[in-house]
């Protein structure tokens, strides 16, 4: 699928260098020094994004001015906090193209959202012989819960094959989707290869056999590539912390009829209509799936994050990030010995996972950190994918709109420097032992 932002119909603002410098001033952390004296080059936004000051300020404001539990006390503070939380729900609904706010369930993160559907829906509704279609590129969060649900229900997991350039092999969709398929779970965008999947096409095939579609939008949501109307998605999940928001807050979106089928996994306060000694009945959505006290202050922070993103414009963000990706691919592919795992830039978002033929990913990340460049090394919660790669770990650089072309260059030159140090050291050692 080629990458094009979800259109708002308006002409997107072009984010030039001046505008990005202005944006960077909104993120205090980007001006921190690391290891005492090195400017931070933060290229780990796929793990968690940095937060603009307005989000931090909103959280402080909530704690200082109207902190109060939501939906309960009849007093001014409680009303204000509830309004903040519910307005965040509306903003999020609009952000992802949902038609009503009740379709947005607050959870603690993508992982919790997937588990809610896996345990509350799949484990309850699936039968032996039913099939769940996955693929080996998925994050463990969109993998392990389905394994658990399959085990609990007797359903079978199937895996759509990947192409040689790390896309889903959609030409084989018909072989893998059939009348037994009940659910297709897929990421909007891979957190390792950056591959942007053709969700509308996958959803059309799934819906044609009556299967539900679950989209893990943990990555795609941050890059403006998520709209639940594209493909008429049944369930969709993402985490606030990857989208400029606070930790501890996730979203589960569902079509009303799909959400209605989820049985509560957690019981407690707020999710009930009536509780008696002999049993309990459930509240309406979204409360039914939100047992206990919500992360209401975080919700307010998330509302501020969405406002901020929209003030810049998701379309502009998508385009700008893609230009950084193109630059990164062009520059990094000139470095000898470096292999990038992923398709051509036209089919991916702003993530580059790589290995060097001599330097282990871990050592590479360490050597970059020593130059102030923050990337991540490991399997990035995708062990089955790394099994296919044939390496235990890759080094991953991921970009956000607050990164600059200059930082892409810093990444590349830091990698070159690391290689040089390794080779110089290695050579010296060889000479010494002659």
């Amino acid at each position: 699928m080629s990458v094009s932002p979800t259109s708002t119909g308006q002409q997107p603002e072009i984010l030039d260098v001046d505008r990005i410098q202005q944006v960077r001033r909104d993120f205090p952390i980007l001006h921190e020094l690391v290891h005492g004296d090195l400017p931070l080059v933060y290229l780990d936004s796929a793990a968690t994004s940095q937060k603009p000051k307005c989000v931090v300020d909103k959280i402080v404001e909530a704690y200082e001015k109207y902190n109060s539990n939501v939906h309960r006390g009849i007093h001014a503070l409680g009303d204000r906090m509830t309004t903040e939380m519910e307005s965040a729900r509306e903003k999020i609904a609009r952000f992802i193209g949902a038609s009503t706010a009740e379709q947005v369930i607050f959870t603690s993160g993508t992982t919790m959202s997937v588990n809610l559907v896996a345990h509350g829906w799949a484990a309850k509704h699936l039968r032996p012989g039913d099939e769940i279609l996955l693929n080996e590129m998925e994050h463990h969060a969109n993998f392990v819960p389905w394994q658990m649900a399959a085990q609990a229900s007797g359903a079978t997991l199937r895996f759509l094959p990947l192409t040689a350039d790390w896309q889903l092999d959609l030409s084989r969709l018909d072989e893998f989707i059939n009348s037994r398929t009940r659910l297709v779970a897929v990421a909007g965008m891979s957190n390792v290869t950056g591959t942007v999947h053709d969700v509308p096409r996958i959803a059309a095939a799934a819906h044609a056999v009556g299967a539900r579609v679950f989209v893990d939008a943990a990555q795609s949501s941050a890059h403006g590539l998520t709209n639940v109307q594209d493909g008429n998605i049944d369930f969709l999940a993402f985490s606030g912390h990857k989208l400029l928001g606070p930790t501890g807050l996730g979203i589960l979106y569902g079509k009303p009829e799909a959400l209605e089928e989820i049985q509560p996994v957690f019981g407690g306060g707020h999710m009930i209509r009536e509780v008696t000694k002999s049993g309990s009945t459930w509240a309406d959505l979204p409360a039914r799936l939100e047992a206990g006290t919500a992360a209401f202050v975080e919700c307010a922070g998330m509302g501020a994050a969405i406002d901020y993103l929209e003030s810049i414009g998701m379309e502009s963000i998508t385009r700008y990030e893609h230009s950084l990706l193109e630059l990164a691919h062009a520059r990094l592919s000139q470095i000898p010995g470096l292999t990038i795992f992923g398709p051509e830039v036209a089919h991916k978002g702003a993530i580059v996972s790589m290995v060097h033929e001599q330097i282990h990913a871990h050592d590479l990340a360490d050597l970059l950190d020593r130059q102030g460049v923050a990337i991540r090394a490991g399997h990035h919660c995708t062990m089955p994918l790394h099994e296919l790669f044939g390496v235990a770990a890759t080094a991953r650089a991921s970009f956000a709109f607050y990164n600059t072309p200059d930082e892409v260059e810093k990444l590349a030159s830091a990698i070159e420097k690391a290689i040089e140090v390794f080779q110089r050291r290695s050579l010296r050692r060889a000479n010494r032992s002659l």
Binding site: G378, K417, S426, R429
Partner: protein
Amino acid sequence: MADRLDELYDDYILDHFESPYHCGKLECPSCAHADKNPLCGDQIRLELKLDGSTIEEAWFQGRGCAISQAGASILCEHIEGKTLEELRDMQGQDMLDLLKVPLTASRQKCGLLAFKVLKTLVYAQDEHESDLPSRPVSIHPR
């Protein structure tokens, strides 16, 4: 900054990484154990040949970063000739000291992987002697 970079690829680490000590298999090991760092995928298998309670030979096989692999090599060299008693007293910090390079918390896991495998082997030997059922041992309390 150059110093910071050179520090990781300290000659000592690189020596052990590129020409490891006893990297391979034993014909018939007295005991063997393998483990993996689940976060980064580093793998180490350690094989020991015991003479009574003395480590006669220690060999390893592995895959992973310079620190984890050099760590295994350094550990094999260090423990040969030592007794199980002595190894029982060896602490994580002793292993980090053997590596010589300063490591951040996340990289200490790499440096300690071989040591963790060794500790599991040593405890298993203890239990063997006292006929207790063997159980997995973790040096990082979860």
